[in-house]
């Protein structure tokens, strides 16, 4: 049964509760392994909540349904966020989340396309957007109205292939293609090692209709994705300013949030503080 077509009515509080659930799932996963790329995942929790519980059209019982909107997570190491969203959406069992990163688990620290709900093998950065272009071309050939959403990161803009794909999407007029550019300001070696600003101007110069928002503001994410529904012959880019670790104070404050590892006692403290912080939320 397909859902989220997307509806006209928006329940922002319900989406906020979903985002909180995604953060809770991510903390469960990271505690199990003691580590993970959780900073990035927490930063994208609000965007994923809006995607999976408002904007995307998909069928949790049939992840390969041909009419689905595609969501390509180009940053495969953000898998922790995708597993949280897919579990919350009912594509994966919530109970399986505790296997994150374990030997033989389907929930790898970097995505493989053999796990239900995954649309590409991520991990080698700069792969997502070009594959999104191909999927959008294929769907258009089939006369499908399904859309293709590609998440990519500010660090990933340093891969030349990202811009090869950006040029071709504009050339082919792929208005069912939406790039979700997560600008969290960090990459493997620390804060952005190459300055990518002005990000929005770069996408506009490449022919994309571009909006720039606070990626942790649920209402702004809903509005931005709604503006991307227009079919006007141009691809859409949403520049998302996100905070790594968003919603979990200890991780927000960490200087090592590209990859976060603490002992189990500290995880318990982090989770207790998180639950306290979300108590009484609408």
């Amino acid at each position: 049964m397909a859902r989220n077509s997307p509806p006209d009515r928006v329940d922002l509080d319900a989406l906020r509760r979903r985002a909180t659930n995604l953060r809770r799932h991510m903390l469960t996963m990271a505690r199990g392994q003691g580590q993970g790329y959780i900073g990035q995942g927490l930063g994208m929790a609000d965007v994923l909540a809006v995607l999976y519980f408002h904007e995307l059209r998909y069928d949790p019982g049939n992840p390969r349904w041909s009419g689905r909107d595609r969501f390509l997570l180009s940053t495969g190491h953000y898998s922790i966020a995708l597993w949280a969203a897919l579990a919350e959406a009912g594509v994966l069992p919530v109970a399986e989340l505790s296997t994150y990163g374990a030997d033989d688990s389907r929930l790898e620290m970097s995505t493989l396309d053999t796990t239900p709900g995954v649309e590409l093998i991520g991990g080698s950065l700069g792969h997502g957007l070009g594959q999104g272009v191909g999927q959008a071309l294929g769907l258009r050939l089939d006369g499908s109205d399904a859309r293709v959403f590609v998440e990519l990161s500010d660090g990933e803009m340093q891969e030349g292939s990202t811009w090869e794909a950006a040029m071709s999407a504009a050339h082919f007029g792929l208005d069912a293609l939406v790039a979700l550019v997560d600008c969290n300001g960090i990459q493997a070696d620390g804060p952005m090692v190459l300055d990518m600003e002005p990000v929005a101007a770069k996408w506009r110069a490449f022919g994309w209709e571009t909006v720039e928002i606070d990626g942790n503001d649920i209402a702004a994410v809903v509005a931005a994705l709604q503006s991307c529904r227009v079919r006007d012959g141009r691809p859409k880019a949403v520049i998302l300013r996100t905070l790594p670790g968003k919603g979990v104070a200890r991780i927000e404050q960490s200087e090592k949030s590209h990859f976060f590892r603490v002992d189990v006692r500290e995880w318990d403290g982090i989770i207790a503080a998180f639950e306290q912080s979300v108590e009484g939320m609408p």
Binding site: S124, H127, Q131, G134, L141, F172
Partner: protein
Amino acid sequence: MTANGDPPRTLAMGQDTTGSARATLEAPFGRALAALSAARPEIVGLTADLGKYTDIHPFRDAFPERFFNVGMAEQNLIAVAAGLARTGKVPFATTYGVFATRRAYDFVAIAVAHSRMNVKILAGLPGLTTGYGSTHQAIEDLALMRMIPGLVVIDPCDASEIAAATRAAADHDGPVYMRLLRGAVPVVLDPDAPFRIGKARLVRSGTDVGIVSTGLMTERAMDAADALAARGVSCGVLHVPTIKPFDADAVAEFAATVGQVVTAENHVMVGGLASLVVETLFDAGVARRVTRIGLPDRYIECGAVPTLQARYGLTADAIVRRIEALA
């Protein structure tokens, strides 16, 4: 300078030949693709600004709505092909072998092969088939591509085999890398003989020496075998158009029936056919001397194709000389 003071003429640019004297067919790949695509709406074509140089123009002209030129961007060429394959299309993506390998390798490995995408990569200018120099001569592509798990690698000999391999690639459910001879491509093999992915073909029988060859070198090996027969040397030729999966059984059986083995490939002598044959004979416990004919471990200069092929021993005459010199 020549004797009369003029600069020496070179055919390096614009010379596009396999060096064969046989009858030819024009654009066998593109014609075969266009012919089979009428009944196969899922086939799409792509190129990276090399449409008319990789013989895909017959498909482009017949099915313009199914043809995508992504510009000079080979990583994106392969990524877009992989994305199209995810929607059930069967993409045939053309570029030169040097770009499909050196430039787009990560995308071939991860987006296509690891992802088991049904993408066909057609790679022009294999080995020494261009005078353009090292930037355009794919001299190590077979080695690079055969290391990739799950990728079928084909080095066809002639026009009829290119057409047959194009059809076989379309029927094969999985990724394929195929070397492409373009333009006027000679007809060498019996066009009615079947082509099957992973199968070698005995094209000359002989007992003194057995040549295992692939790609355009099979033509030269056949001519060499005929010349040697006239001189009393019995020389067999086993044509191995599929580098992966490799027909190890046929190679081991063939080697066991000849006095010694010669490999012949339009490729560096490491990592390609010669390495495969030696690995195969080692695994099978077949002890034969193996002489390798192929390109040396260095980059090749610019020059006319016939000049380069003669200089680096990729001609029938050169094969005859090498075999006659074997004790």
